[in-house]
Subunit: 309 residues, 2 copies
């Protein structure tokens, strides 16, 4: 068998360590025609994320929230049951995957120029949807998402070769300091944390509920947090957080009465399509990591929804 | 048997409901000689808590932190083992009770005029230590404390007759928006939430790890949070939060690398000493709820520690 060289080995040894990022963060050169300002572009490169406010109008946000709620409360048979993930304790819906194929308005959102255009600019390539999901984090009992680099998982478990992907998070309830907002470690995307342990087959079924492999080492996490601090951008529904695939992020539990529901659309560069996983032999299923349904997104301008008028 | 009239029944029926507070919040009339400003006094009355900054100097804070750490890492036999409570999952130390009897510096803290003097003023009575503890909430895996009114538990399980007690929380690490700071619902102290369910005997052993009885109803919690919002006062080590015994409070999990350690000293009015519990027959042990070791605190002025000079 041909042995691939792995630029980002992880879960292959007992030693946790940091290796420097070997890929660009912003792949385009900024110019006046870019869909981000020069400051925003620089901030994304430096911090590994940016906050984008007021991209959507009230009607668009309402349509997204309505459809997020429809999927949350969908009766059996409406959604692909594999794509619905429950909280480990309460059984409440934690995530629904593949929302861009199970909802017309989320399909339209994923193609929207305000998101896909920015992704194409930052990655300087055609992009496709690697993954999409709603994370609901219900009130009272919403469980935390522990710190992780998405890329570490996508590389090891899905075979994403390089760091040339990003997530767009669209807040669909207010994210406040209190209801378990997304936390990110600024600058962490410049380091790759090699995790210890191997990955059992079919690990993903558990890991979507509670991560046990690909968990970064305490000491290295502390170093990242001491170097760059912790940020928790907040805002009303409709706010967007764009973050690099290797930015360390997580979120605390939500005991407030107010759910924290965020949509995630993950764009990968077409040139960065999945190969065989670098870890386990069997790749994760298509609804978590698009392998065959790879279609370049053609950005669509204009409002998300037809005006009712 | 003589039937006591219970002004604050809870856990006696299947119906969650709210009954209005039947006690004062601030028992003294403010005057120029008071240990709080008029604004602070009014805020405590209105919100059920106040933040007190810069009460202690750097040397005092360091002495408290050092002794908090000593108790956290104390070898077997140094502390009363009953007073040390572990996290349900990780086994890490979650709380140490009766710190004012297991540490000279915490004994001195509990008697300090800056805390005890304020408690005496707000409660307009001699005060004694009903309970004291360190809550450590370690980094990475610190578990949440779910919403509760202290008074509901102290009344039902310990037999505290009326709302005439308060907690002083002394932050002993920085409390940030990220590491699971104390959250309070402003104004919630004016309503008493009647909880459903009965209380099993020896419930306290579990409840110190994870509350299952005396849990307020979702709908009533939502109402309180919508009425008054949620506040999470933050600050560096040494900051003090004083809050009424019936203020609804809790805190989220802590996945950051930075522990969130807070000391709690609970002062009860001498006239409000414990009676027989209103719920279970057997009262909780002395280290959680002082019943026999009731000594009025004589406030001590001056620095917490002797200067090293």
């Amino acid at each position: 068998m041909h042995e691939r060289k792995d630029p980002y080995p992880s879960r292959t040894s007992g030693k946790a360590q940091t290796i420097p990022r070997q890929d660009q963060v912003v792949y385009s050169r900024w110019s006046a025609g870019a869909p981000l300002s020069e400051d925003e572009t620089r901030a994304f490169d430096r911090d590994g994320f940016i906050l984008l406010r007021d991209l959507f109008d009230a009607g668009e946000i309402e349509a997204l929230c309505r459809d997020a709620k429809r999927m949350l409360t969908a009766s059996n048979g409406t959604l692909d049951p594999d794509t619905v993930i429950a909280e480990p304790d309460s059984g409440a819906v934690r995530s629904v995957f593949k929302v861009h194929e199970q909802s017309a308005v989320f399909a339209r959102l994923a193609a929207d120029a305000r998101l896909a255009g920015v992704a194409r600019f930052l990655l300087n390539d055609d992009v496709y949807i690697h993954q999409s999901r709603m994370n609901y984090k219900p009130g009272f009992q919403g469980r935390e998402f522990y710190w992780h680099s998405d890329f570490e998982t996508w590389h090891v478990e899905d075979g994403m070769p390089r760091m040339r992907a990003l997530s767009m998070t669209v807040l669909l309830t207010a994210n406040t300091p209190y209801n378990g907002p997304l936390m990110l470690m600024p600058g962490s995307h410049k380091s790759y944390i090699v995790c210890v342990g191997e990955t059992p087959d079919d690990h993903y079924k558990m890991s979507l509920k509670k991560q046990e492999y690909g968990v970064p080492d305490d000491e290295l996490l502390t170093q990242l947090a001491e170097d760059g601090g912790i940020a928790a951008p907040i805002g009303p529904a409709g706010t967007v957080i764009a973050f690099d695939c290797n930015t360390m992020h997580g979120s605390a539990s939500n005991i407030t009465p107010f759910p924290r529901s965020n949509a995630f659309i993950v764009y990968n560069a077409l040139s960065n399509r999945l190969e065989a996983p670098f870890g386990p032999a069997r790749p994760r299923p298509e609804f978590i990591a698009a392998r065959t349904s790879v279609r370049p997104v053609v950005p669509v301008s204009g409002p998300l929804i037809q005006s009712a008028a």
